[in-house]
Symmetry: C2
Subunit: 198 residues, 2 copies
């Protein structure tokens, strides 16, 4: 479910790839899901939610969402986010700090075309995170879209974000609680590594 391409040679990328494969091999549920956390300077609110990572293409870590939803608004106001993976199957926690931006529209078009029509119907039908009178009203909106709309055409309020890490920590939990914490920080375009106390 997570596609790697143009994977950088640098050690944190190679390690992430290796640990991801280990998590998958250990049957980690939703290994590609991560908590993305944001700060909205207008509301002064920190918020967090799980999303699914779809691609790591070079330095771009890409996921898709509604461009009008609260998280997209927060990214516009403050373009630094955290991304947190937690693979209990291998006791690995990956802690990332990154800057975030929208991807090219053409890439969002391509990705949208490749999805199943039911998912696209949800993306088209939903004013994400807006209130609605009932869950039944959501189901009705969805059914109408599924029957009547062109489900291969990306709506302009839906697309990808790419984040580029400047900090990656590999946190490996230990029974002793002496957890192993290896950190990589991007300094002048070089990744510097260090060990942190647990």
């Amino acid at each position: 479910m997570l596609e790697f391409s143009n994977l950088p040679d640098s050690r944190p990328y190679q390690l992430f790839h290796q640990y991801y494969q280990e998590a998958e091999a250990a049957n980690q549920v939703l290994a590609y899901a991560f908590a993305v956390s944001s700060y909205n300077p207008s509301t002064k609110i920190v918020d967090s939610r799980f999303v699914n990572l779809k691609y790591i293409d070079g330095n771009d870590w890409i996921f898709f969402t509604n461009y009008k939803g609260p998280k997209a608004q927060a990214f516009e106001g403050h373009n630094q986010i955290s991304a947190l993976f937690n693979w209990t199957a291998t006791r690995m926690q990956i802690r990332i700090k990154a800057t975030i931006k929208k991807i090219d529209l053409i890439k969002s078009d391509e990705h949208f075309k490749g999805r199943i029509k039911e998912k696209n119907a949800v993306a088209i039908a939903s004013n994400q995170s807006q209130k609605i009178e009932s869950y039944e009203a959501i189901e009705e909106k969805y059914k109408k879209v599924l029957e009547n709309e062109d489900l291969s055409k990306r709506p302009d309020y839906w697309g990808g974000f790419a984040f580029s890490p400047f900090y990656i920590e590999f946190w490996n939990g230990k029974d002793t609680r002496l957890n192993h914490r290896q950190v990589f920080e991007l300094i002048d375009e070089d990744w510097q590594d260090s060990i942190l106390q647990p």
Copy 2:
């Protein structure tokens, strides 16, 4: 591992308690672990990490940490956080926004006394998140503390934080992607609920 006491009658608390029990019954790994996200106004950095929730006592959701670490510093500068539980076993995600403060020292003393000595040795030995020359240096510091220190005495740099939610969302994932999202917001001391679009 998570103790409930003085549980409020309000619906979001009763629902959280019910869904927590369902997650435990479904053998959710680390159901009491959650991602706590912070914003540090000095560094302008959003960050996130998993911690273990120990108590819900009335409106206080309590966990313990190092008071000199980066997350404690962020809480001092910006006392609003998010807390995110993700129970894949029951497809429930609990999204919380809350304000946070330190708990009474005496309660931290009591909790510290009740922990196993090995955990306390880690708490005493570790300058949490500070760099150190090697993992072996961590092990040496730990061994010295374990042999030489009074492990029942809480160090002043360790203690509890309590957060009090003002927003709780129960997000239930569906195969259709028409996820069920029920939100409770604390408005003038009353919990108002609504349904959000997926």
